[in-house]
């Protein structure tokens, strides 16, 4: 054990094993294979035991002297925490990849010995403390790679390998020259002694030497644009080998940069510039890539650049204490997830990104793909998330806003292309045969997935987030996933409801506005979700995801920390994505949902980071103490929440997502999930109000809200698709809420909350009813459905109540909301908006009439029957809620009014059930009585009219089927604008990737030019 714990054993196992391989080959294959795995296992175990020894020794590094002499006389190696962490990661991954790559490796014993010595070389690069020795290990890694590339026999592969050889030979030559020049200047090759003699590193020779070494290491990490040779190799080699090069070999280079960074302090800005460019460019080009392995290559290049970027920038801003968390987190995430993805490519046997694979037939592979894609996109709870979060926070503290923008833009592009791939891969395609996945690939993949989860959880613990709020949703989801197969679908649903109720009791209580939201959304969510029980068989992931969704919403509402808020927010996004994706025709529409959701999330992250950086506190409450300088932060936060609230211009994700999600999922999305964004906006507005911003953007916000309302209503009016109509209606209603929030007054906010509650219940009912109607009629086109009033009277009744409430007509809840809103707008003097509100009300009435009349009146042209009880019961409960709140508005408004901070002068006074405002008294009782009478009259009139007109197809067509507005009245401006934007990005990407001509000579030229640019730029940098 103690002998094993000596890290020199890593080198001995590697090189000794390598030398032994030819002899074992002569003896027999059994010996050869056993010997290979014994050596690789020995090497890996040695590194693990050594790391344990280091940890037990309090983190003190093990110094390994050679030749019985102390440095600088002899070469020494070091195995400390950092070295150990990298070494163990690389070795464990190498072992897994050897298993995954076994089909190729076992073909030739040479490959086995190359692999062993190569792994040893990487460990050597990590451990050595000598510049020239680093070069030797670098060469071992390079030559081992050249040899392994000999396994590739395709013409493209041979070409790529030759380009790779040429480029890396140039790079390592630079390092050699640099190292010897450093020796000439300092008289030392030992890294520690060179660092000590740093003061003497002045003058042109030192500068050139340092840039030569730096250029070599950066080139080995494949910087844009000098990386075509690397991408060609990623594209053409077997996936597991690509994974090995991408994660293990690069790890050695990354660590070498880390090790030599003290020498490069003058060049940090250069490193940052180059890596930022690489990160942005590779993700940009990734958008236009169709070949999976090349795509993963671009992603790898970007990820490694991000790691170096983090290293350099954290050093530059003096945040070295978080380097382990950030850099190692990013590295680990890349290591496990990228290797996992490459292995899955091997398991799937696909090369074209655009090919639909029908991967859901292989649930394990599809699950792995989902997990790894989510991890690479740096979504929680995986290690990359915690690392990126901390990095962004640090960058914000140091006011490196440009870098934040680059980082988030690059990440957004990466999310886009990876999710696009995922969506294509799971798109059904019965034609496509899927190979039976091999165990030797699946087991490593499983291990990587488990390690990813374990390390993610570990880092979550280390990052200081609320463990309970983060892991309870995931835990419940995972639990349901595990017990799911044992239960029938309905039992799963019941288990889900029970689990969510139980788990939500364990979470800390929320107070104030958050508390209101929390109760409202929990109750609403449970009621709407219970409609799922109507389905005999749900997709297997439905209930686990629903549990994660509902509980994450609670976490968002109940946390005090920005980090937890964001994590739970992302859980909501991811859970929603997968829930939507289960819709019959939803897959093509989900990408837009994901991209816009991530766009919103990044805006929120950026905004929060700016404010947190300015206040120096990571608690949500700190949002309220920011000074006016944090204005941009609030604007970004508001923008992010507006994207999620589908404000006009950024609304284009909502209709397809709501339209194509499974029906009860749409009900949850519209009724419940959309309110979380509203909550965020409310909190932002609250915080902004508290923190005495100079700039007042409330009017702008109100205008956005009202425009959303009017245009949403207009678009709803033009829909023939039942769910799309309701989707645009949701957008319109959310606009009202945004306007109400923008009022920034007591009355406005009470109104906002009131409409929130109303809309939740109304849209819950309407989407569930729509689901039932679609279920019973088999169509969602309004013009194919009519006369349902006889067939589905109960559905008619609840829909009528919901529509009445939403329309803002007396007597139901919606009336109160609209009345309050218009009053408050008048109070502010925003008369234009009042006019907009009235217009929107009119348009709303129009499309609701269309809906009601179209669906329920007229000739019964479709056979159908009443909705299933399990869909009706939740609707009836929600109708009950509407009635209760309509009759006793104080039940809701009282607590709402109290919850809103007393900083707004209270303008609502309750006397009994009647509300007294500065405008007058709203006593619901007489209003209700009169309006019930009016409504009864109206209903009678409707009935009479429909009696007369119902038979007349032409009249019906005029009322329902005709497009009420010409096409020109609703130009798809937002669609066109976003389309043009995306096209612009694509043109840019295509232009950028023209640099990859495929000519190896040109790639060599770029490598040399990269060094020259680095060098001549460095001469302009001020020396420290």
């Amino acid at each position: 054990m103690t002998a094993l714990a000596h890290p020199i054993g890593i080198l001995l196992f590697g090189i000794g094993g390598g030398f032994l391989i030819p002899l074992l080959y002569k003896i027999g294959y059994g010996w050869l294979h056993t010997g290979f795995f014994a050596a690789l296992g020995g090497l890996t175990l040695t590194s693990i035991f050594s790391l344990i020894a280091v940890v037990q020794g309090g983190g003190e590094a093990i110094e390994i002297l050679t030749a019985g002499a102390a440095p600088p006389i002899s070469i020494n190696l070091r195995f400390g925490l950092a070295e150990g962490a990298f070494s163990v990661s690389v070795n464990v991954m190498a072992t897994l990849l050897a298993v995954a790559h076994w089909d190729h490796l076992k073909k030739n014993y040479v490959a086995l010995l190359l692999f062993l010595i190569l792994v040893m070389g990487i460990n050597g690069m990590i451990m050595t403390r000598d510049l020239f020795n680093l070069f030797v290990f670098l060469e071992i890694v390079s030559i081992g790679t050249y040899g392994l590339l000999g396994l590739v026999t395709s013409r493209d592969g041979i070409q790529a390998a030759f380009k790779y050889v040429m480029a890396t030979v140039i790079a390592s030559t630079l390092f050699l020259l640099g190292a010897v020049l450093i020796y000439y200047v300092t008289g030392h090759l030992n890294i520690d002694f060179v660092i000590e003699a740093q003061a003497s590193l002045i003058g042109p020779i030192s500068g050139i030497a340092l840039v030569m070494m730096l250029a070599c290491l950066l080139i080995e990490l494949k910087p844009f644009p000098a990386n075509g040779w690397g991408l060609d190799v990623y594209e053409t080699v077997p996936p597991a080998l690509a994974a090995f090069l991408s994660v293990c070999a690069s790890a050695g280079m990354l660590f070498a940069v880390y090790k030599l960074l003290p020498l490069f302090t003058d060049y940090l800005s250069l490193i940052i510039a180059s890596t930022a460019l690489t990160f942005l460019a590779s993700n940009l080009i990734g958008l236009r890539q169709d070949k999976i392995q090349r795509l993963l290559g671009y992603s790898s290049v970007g990820q490694m650049a991000l790691g170096v970027l983090a290293l350099a920038v954290l050093t530059q801003i003096g945040a070295q204490q978080v380097i382990p968390l950030v850099v190692f987190g990013l590295f680990l995430n890349h290591l496990l997830a990228k290797a996992g993805l490459f292995c899955l490519v091997a398991a799937i046997g696909a090369s074209d990104l655009r090919e639909a694979l029908g991967l859901t037939r292989r649930p394990f592979v599809a699950g792995g793909l989902a997990l790894f894609v989510v991890a690479i996109c740096a979504l929680p709870p995986f290690p990359g998330f915690w690392a990126k979060w901390e990095l962004i926070m640090q960058l914000a503290s140091a006011e490196r806003f440009l870098l934040i923008a680059i980082l988030l833009a690059g990440s957004l592009m990466e999310t886009t292309y990876l999710f696009r791939w995922f969506i294509r891969a799971v798109t059904p395609n019965p034609e496509r045969q899927l190979p039976e996945p091999k165990l030797n690939i699946l087991l490593p993949v499983l291990t990587m997935a488990v390690l990813l989860i374990v390390t993610g959880v570990g880092m979550a613990m280390a990052s200081g987030a609320d463990g309970l709020l983060i892991f309870l949703p995931l835990g419940v989801g995972a639990g349901l996933l595990v017990v799911g197969p044992l239960l029938s679908s309905r039992l799963q649903g019941i288990a889900m409801l029970v689990a969510v109720v139980g788990a939500s009791q364990m979470l800390p209580e929320a107070y104030g506005i958050a508390g209101l939201f929390s109760h409202l959304l929990l109750a609403g969510g449970l009621i709407i979700a219970s409609a799922g029980l109507a389905e005999k068989t749900m997709p297997p992931l439905h209930y686990p995801l629903m549990a994660v969704l509902l509980l994450s919403i609670q976490s968002v509402l109940r946390t005090q920390l920005g980090l937890t808020f964001y994590v739970a927010w992302e859980f909501i996004t991811v859970a929603s994505f997968f829930l939507i994706a289960q819709g019959r025709n939803a897959l093509p529409e989900t990408l837009r949902f994901m991209v816009f959701s991530m766009f919103a999330a990044f805006l929120i992250m950026g905004g929060y980071a700016i404010i947190a950086g300015q206040t120096g506190s990571r608690a949500l409450i700190a949002l309220t103490i920011a000074t006016p300088e944090a204005m941009v932060g609030y604007a970004l936060l508001a923008a992010g929440f507006l994207v999620k609230a589908a404000a006009i211009g950024v609304h284009i994700w909502l209709p397809p997502a709501y339209g194509e999600a499974p029906d009860n999922v749409t009900a949850i999305l519209s009724g419940v999930v959309s309110k979380v964004g509203i909550f965020g906006l409310l909190m932002t507005a609250y915080a902004a109000a508290q923190s005495e911003l100079n700039v007042d953007f409330t009017y702008l916000l109100a205008c956005i809200g009202m425009a959303t309302t009017v245009i949403g209503a207009l678009l709803a009016l033009c829909q023939r698709d039942l769910k799309r109509l309701l989707a645009y209606s949701s957008m319109s209603q959310l606009g009202y809420i945004v306007t109400a929030i923008a009022l920034m007054s007591h009355l406005g906010w009470v109104t906002a909350l009131y409409i929130v509650a109303n809309h939740m219940m109304v849209k819950g009912i309407l989407f569930l009813a729509a689901g039932a109607i679609i279920l019973r009629t088999g169509t969602r086109q309004l013009d194919e459905i009519s006369g349902l009033v006889r067939r589905m009277p109960l559905t008619f009744a609840v829909v009528a109540v919901a529509l009445l409430s939403m329309s803002g007509l007396p007597p139901l809840m919606g009336f109160g909301g609209k009345w309050l809103l218009l009053s408050a707008l008048m109070d502010k003097g925003w008369t234009v908006l009042v006019a907009g509100g009235i217009l929107a009300t009119f348009l709303g009435l129009w499309y609701m009439t269309r809906l009601l009349v179209g669906l329920f009146f007229g000739p019964a042209i479709t056979q159908s029957r009443e909705a299933p009880a399990m869909i009706l019961i939740p609707q009836v409960l929600l109708v009950g809620g509407i009635l209760v709140f309509s009759l006793f508005p104080k039940l809701l408004m009282g607590p709402v009014s109290d919850a809103i901070d007393p900083q707004f002068a209270a303008t609502l006074v309750w006397e009994g059930q009647s509300l007294e405002t500065i405008y007058g008294i709203w006593d619901p009782t007489p209003v209700m009585l009169t309006s019930i009478a009016a409504a009864a009259g109206l209903m009678a009139l409707w009935w009479g009219l429909s009696k007369v007109m119902g038979k007349s197809v032409r009249a019906r067509a005029a009322l329902v089927l005709a497009r009420p507005l010409p096409q020109a009245a609703t130009p798809r401006l937002a669609q066109a604008a976003w389309g043009a934007f995306v096209h612009g990005i694509e043109v840019l990407a295509d232009g950028t990737r023209r640099i990859y001509t495929g000519n190896g000579q040109f790639y060599v030229l770029l490598v040399l030019a990269y060094f020259l640019v680095l060098y001549f730029m460095s001469t302009f940098l001020p020396a420290s």
Binding site: F19, V110, T153, Q1001, L1008
Partner: protein, 230 residues
């Protein structure tokens, strides 16, 4: 064309960089402390008059081990790289080997044994005079090359060579480990008697390591040369 212009510019700029190095270069007037300590340590501590060998085999022995590994990997991977490709068009016909001629043939008869002897001499005297395992190994391989040119029909026993190089490599590592067990650390050669400075049997395990290196390098380079004949 554009690329050629760029290439010329890049070479020109590199010339500028190199000129800067030359311009700033000052020839050293004395050894720096580290170099000076090698010059004293090598004869005194390692009993090795050839300081470069002392550094190569001992103080920077890890480099040498790595270097050996590199050569070993290359010799091995040539087998992989030069294997005929499956499913590819047949390799073009080998060039007609012209007869090496009388001079080469006779020259080989005379030179081959001499070259091998010289190689062996250079290998075993590495600790005393200019030379050592690599240099000697290269000389041996040069002899083998001559042999192969002069008599192309010669078949090298690559199996044996492969066993030899592996065994030499393993013994090298084992000697290194003996250094841990018996002396001051990995690759410390001082577990064998130091002998007298300048003596043939001296310098601890250095001559032994040198010999192993020579055998290994000779075998590997011969394999490399042989592989390229296929």
């Amino acid at each position: 064309m554009m690329q050629r212009v760029l290439s010329v510019i890049v070479i020109g700029l590199l010339a500028v960089v190199f000129t800067r190095i030359v311009g700033a270069y000052v020839q050293l007037d004395a050894l720096r402390p580290l170099a000076a300590s090698y010059v004293t340590l090598s004869p005194e501590s390692l009993t090795t008059p050839n300081v470069i060998t002392g550094i190569l085999i001992t103080y920077r022995g890890l480099d040498t081990l790595g270097e050996v590994a590199v050569l070993f990997m290359v010799a091995a991977s040539l087998g992989l790289l030069l294997k005929p490709l499956e499913g590819q068009p047949k390799p073009p016909k080998a060039f007609q080997r012209s007869d090496p001629g009388e001079i080469v043939h006779s020259g080989k008869q005379v030179m081959f044994p001499m070259i091998l002897t010289f190689g062996a001499y250079v290998i075993v005297n590495g600790h005393l005079s200019a030379g050592g395992g690599f240099q000697g190994g290269a000389i041996v391989a040069a002899g083998v090359m001559l042999l192969l040119i002069a008599t192309p029909e010669t078949r090298l026993n690559t199996t044996l060579l492969s066993i030899v190089e592996s065994t030499a490599g393993i013994l090298f590592v084992l000697l290194g480990i003996l250094g841990i067990v018996l002396a001051g650390g990995f690759l410390d050669p001082r577990f064998l008697p130091a002998g007298e400075l300048g003596g043939f049997i001296s310098a601890g395990a250095i001559p032994l390591i040198s010999a192993l290196l020579g055998i290994k390098v000779g075998a590997e380079l011969s394999v490399v040369i042989d592989k390229f004949r296929t």
